[in-house]
């Protein structure tokens, strides 16, 4: 798989985690691609933390309106039934547990469900934006990322970068597999048949728990 195929593969698998009626917040980049793979026939309420629900696709160039942008600042549309609100209401929705799932990228994630995705001291300090609130408040937190960063391991025993939130991650989806963070550690629920369990473990610092009924990661 090339990088684009990897991203589509991950986004498709995450799409299957969603259910009719879910309120979902998708982060910038790969997580946004999940919007292309929502379950057929399901009503999914996509929330944009800058202040609306029922985010729709990007409009044609000539229909762009700078007053309707997503959390990445790109022009989007609002679907029928959608509603705009202010940032306090938006984060009331997020912190208050009204978001069923948030999907974000990660720099590092560890076996305790800790997530680091907002800064690299001395190098990159973009700010946390809404990520800390989303990870703290959403009912389920799903990490969408490539399994390693140019070979460097990202799924660790313990994060070394400053945390976005402690102990909040539920699922990790990469091109190698679908993982669930449990109190005993990270369980490899599904594996991409292109890889062996040994290859996935070699690309992971945390010790993976391999269930007897491990499934093939299909999309």
């Amino acid at each position: 798989m090339d990088r684009n195929e990897i991203k589509q593969f991950i986004a498709k698998r995450i799409g299957r985690l969603l259910h009719d009626g879910d309120v979902v917040n998708l982060g910038i980049g790969l997580p946004t691609m999940v919007a292309n793979y929502l379950p057929e026939g399901a009503n999914i309420f996509l929330q944009s933390e800058n202040g609306f629900i029922m985010v729709g696709p990007a409009p044609l160039k000539e229909d762009e309106d700078m007053r309707i942008v997503n959390a990445g600042g790109q022009c989007v549309t609002i679907l029928p039934g959608g509603v705009f609100f202010n940032s306090a209401t938006s984060f009331g929705i997020i912190r208050g547990g009204h978001v069923d799932m948030t999907v974000l990228g990660a720099l590092q994630v560890d076996e305790k469900g800790n997530l680091a995705n907002w800064m690299i001291p001395g190098k990159m300090v973009p700010g946390m934006g809404g990520a800390m609130d989303l990870v703290t408040g959403a009912k389920k937190v799903t990490i969408a990322m490539e399994h390693t960063a140019k070979g460097a391991k990202k799924i660790l025993k313990e994060c070394t970068l400053p945390l976005t939130a402690a102990g909040q991650v539920d699922y990790i989806v990469t091109e190698m597999g679908f993982m669930e963070v449990t109190k005993d550690g990270i369980v490899l629920r599904e594996i991409n048949p292109e890889f062996t369990v040994e290859q996935v473990q070699d690309a992971t610092e945390a010790t993976l728990i391999i269930p007897e009924d491990i499934k093939e990661m299909g999309v």
Binding site: S48, E49, N50, G51, F52, D65, M66, R67, I68, V69, A71, G72, G73, I78, F84, F85, N86, S87, A88, S90, F91, I94, R95, N114, M124, V125, P126, G127, M128, G129, G130, A131, M132, D133, T136, G137, P162, L163, T164, A165, A166, G167
Partner: protein, 220 residues
């Protein structure tokens, strides 16, 4: 409440003095009061403390105030889209306080609503908790976050009547609606100024009692 709220954009921006704390509504430029910002850049007012969700882009909205080196201290949730913010931060030219976005919104809301602070679970177990009081309620840890207020708030509205009642459009409400409540002087840049009675009371989001001055942006 004084009743003649419409003023010239020059007079409006002159209310901002060197060293003041200002709030500016908007999210990555969407809902920034662009004409007021451009005028403030032109005036060159300096040593400002800026409270804004983000520092936008170098050539768009509040980002221009950073590039023009008018900001001494920035309180924001995200600065990654404006490389100049990072440069000034790393060079020690500007102090930057990064705040989780939901906390920032609630700090402004609390400032305008007369609250002494609030408890949030966001930031527990991260660097955000440093120096803050932790309070446990029913077994859950929270951080005590304090309210934010400003000398002047710059707000963007779509249709504004001469009492200052504001109707917003689209995703521009973001921090505008909150900041309109949390400053000593609140200046709204209106796309369109309406006469009293022209707005449907059911559509008004920000009551005019919060607004000090109106600048007719659409006429500029």
């Amino acid at each position: 409440m004084h009743m003649n709220k419409e003023i010239d954009i020059n007079k409006a921006v002159d209310l901002i003095e060197d060293g003041m704390t200002i709030m500016v509504g908007g999210f990555l430029g969407c809902g920034n009061p662009h004409r007021l910002i451009d005028k403030l850049v032109e005036k060159g007012t300096k040593d400002l403390t800026l409270i804004c969700n983000d520092s936008s882009f170098p050539d768009f909205g509040v980002g221009k105030l950073i590039v023009n080196k008018q900001i001494k201290k920035l309180i924001a949730s995200h600065v990654g889209t404006n490389p100049e913010t990072g440069r000034q931060m790393n060079a020690g030219e500007m102090e930057v306080i990064l705040v989780p976005q939901g906390t920032l919104a609630e700090q402004v809301r609390a400032g305008g609503a007369g609250l002494g602070g609030f408890l949030t679970p966001t930031g527990v177990g991260t660097v955000v908790e440093e120096g803050k009081q932790k309070i446990e309620i029913k077994g859950i840890e929270y951080l005590l976050e304090l309210p934010l207020k400003a000398d002047v708030a710059l707000i963007a509205g779509e249709a504004v009547d001469t009492y200052g009642n504001i109707v917003y459009f689209g995703a521009t409400r973001n921090f505008n609606e909150l900041m309109a409540t949390a400053a000593d002087i609140v200046i709204v840049e209106a796309e369109e100024v309406k006469q009293v009675g022209e707005l449907d009371a059911n559509d008004v989001v920000t009551p005019g009692i919060f607004v000090t001055y109106i600048v007719n942006g659409g006429a500029i």
